[in-house]
Amino acid sequence: MPQIDLLLASLPDGILLGFVYGLAAMGLALIWGVMNVINLSHGPIITLGMFGTFFLFTRADTNPYLGLIPIAALGLLLGILIYIVAVHRVINAPHLSSLLATFSVNMIIIGLGTALLTTSPYNVDFTLPAIKIGSTTLLGTRLVAALVSILFTGGLYLFLYRARPGKYIRAVANNRAAAELMGIDSTRILALSFGLGTMLAAVSGALIATFFPFNILSGGGYELKSFVISVLGGLGNPIGALFGGLILGTLEGIIPAFLETSWVPVIEFSLFVMILLIRPSGLFGAKS
């Protein structure tokens, strides 16, 4: 049974990747859920996270996982900055305005990035010992990346449901006007949510950089994956995004055993449109 062997080789890999995809999508879903903004600068921020790992690792010799801390902090600050400069003025405008405002941030980051870093590929030369079980090999970097993703998801869950600012975020997401009447400074909370969303994107990029080569444009592909995942998990449901990521990762692990790899995106995007049509609230429900 060659297919079973292929499946055993590719499925665990896909699932591990799924956690990281899920982490990226969580950032997108959080921003959508709190302020109904589709963040089109999501992809370039993932790319910035990748370059964060690259520079910290090659120039400063930092362990990529230790480097996550400054990358997360910078991602948070960058997101707050983007919110203040680009998003705040259009937060109540029609969707087109916020889509184009975040897209202009996308253009600015890609434009500057292309000028400074060119579009040639970069690679972080970092490996961890792999674990072998039968015909299955689990790459160390992917295993750790999946664990980090789970940790971040848990952290986000605790933050949203236990910490005070997290509860404010949920309140603002639920009903901004009512939250303001309760004395919550909604502008601050929106900026914080945007910052958290970009932080998650940057961290996922930093993790992806430890096992895939990348260039300044790589984020675009992960941005599209994030759309698919957030719709799978329910737009606006950050925790559901992790499950969406797992579904996508599983698909990416299963399909190559039966079809050519180039069919994977066809199935992903068709699924994406189908789910939007049949169940726009996502497989795991979310606010409607």
Binding site: W32, N36, I38, V85, A86, R89, V90, A93, P94, H95, L96, S97, L99, L100, A101, F103, S104, V105, N106, M107, I108, I109, I110, G111, L112, T114, A115, L224, F227, V228, V231, L235, E260, S262, W263, P265, V266, F269, S270, F272, V273, L276, L277, P280
Partner: protein, 346 residues
């Protein structure tokens, strides 16, 4: 809204509306539309007079954008549905046309209308399905459709898979050689640009267009007022797809080859949105001004020694400034600032 009006569907939706005019020529008495058409004719004839290929290429790009942006404006500006993957119609039309030209030895005169029909058919089927989604969900779905189409054609052998379709140079001999064929595509594009503007104006000033604007302002209210919204939206989508499908054939016929990555480039789709926003969405003139302005600006940034490397970033900053401070676009701003212009700027 007053319930006593005898014509509920054409009741004034906002005090700003003054587009519906009556008289001998009806809405065609508006001088603005004639000025736009005249401007397109003058710009279109210019390279024919000077016989310079370089000028022709610049104007070709601008007019192509005019057709695409004006078409997008029908669904985006009038109806208020953000079609993010509108380039799918351009790409699909181009692919169908190129397939007919190369594999079926069809003539360009067959390929162009069939390309348009293919795009219209896709829009009709999609319209039945995804136009039910509102707001950002629709925008996301159009991105998904574009990406699904791109990745599907990448695997679709009759359309050449990842390498796409290339035309044999012999095909151009039917049209008087490659140089003549370039001029032919140019003349046709000028006609299409005029057609796109006329279509946009006709939709805007018709009762159908008024229904679309009603949908944009408040879809539920429009439904109550008697606009059959699913049909109106679907036809608006079809009308916005047909010309992109036709100029897609024209463009790739001129280009000589078509590839999935080029034909369904999401970035170009977003550039079209930018053009409509720059000029002013929901107006006839806006997409024309926006397309010309955007392409000229891009040309300037690409050739300027100072901005060449960071042209994308500069364009991004400009876009952000416009979105934040002039959200109505150039024409919308003029119309709001000088109300007298509302009568003449369609």
């Amino acid at each position: 809204m007053s319930a006593s009006s005898s014509q509920p569907a054409s009741a004034p939706l906002s005090p700003k509306r003054s587009d519906v005019q009556t008289g001998v020529l009806g809405t065609w008495r508006n001088p603005g539309i004639w000025l736009i058409l005249l401007a397109i004719v003058v710009v279109g004839v210019w390279p024919v007079v000077t016989q310079r290929a370089a000028t022709r290429e610049v104007i070709f790009t601008v007019l192509l954008s005019v057709v695409l942006a004006s078409s997008l404006n029908i669904i985006l500006g009038y109806t208020g549905y953000v079609s993010f993957g509108h380039i799918v119609f351009f790409g699909l039309g181009g692919y169908v046309g190129m397939y007919l030209l190369s594999a079926q030895q069809a003539s360009l005169w067959v390929a162009i209308p069939v390309g348009g029909l293919a795009a219209a058919l896709l829009a009709f089927l999609l319209g039945k399905a995804i136009l039910r989604l509102r707001g950002a969900y629709f925008a996301l779905a159009t991105i998904g459709v574009n990406e699904a189409m791109r990745t599907f054609i990448n695997n679709f052998e009759p359309f050449g898979g990842p390498t796409g379709i290339s035309l044999n140079l012999k095909i151009y001999q039917e049209y008087g050689g490659a140089a003549q064929a370039l001029w032919l595509t140019y003349y046709l594009l000028v006609v299409f640009a005029l057609g796109a503007i006329i279509l946009s104006f006709m939709v805007k000033t018709s009762k159908f267009g008024l229904g679309l604007v009603a949908i944009r302002e408040d879809e539920d209210a429009a439904e109550v007022m008697g606009v059959i919204t699913p049909n109106a939206k679907t036809w608006a989508y079809v009308l916005s797809a047909i010309l992109p499908g036709m100029v897609g054939v024209l463009f790739y016929f001129k280009n000589g080859n078509v590839e999935p990555g080029d034909a369904f480039r999401l970035h170009f789709s977003i550039e079209l949105l930018v053009m409509v926003m720059l000029g002013g969405f929901g107006t006839v003139l806006g997409p024309v001004i926006g397309a010309a302005g955007y392409q000229r600006l891009r040309g300037f940034l690409l050739t300027s020694p100072l901005f060449k490397d960071i042209q994308l970033a500069v364009a991004g900053v400009l876009l952000l400034v416009i979105i934040l401070f002039i959200p109505a676009g150039a024409v919308g701003w003029l119309r709001n600032r000088f109300p007298v212009l509302r009568r003449v700027l369609p």
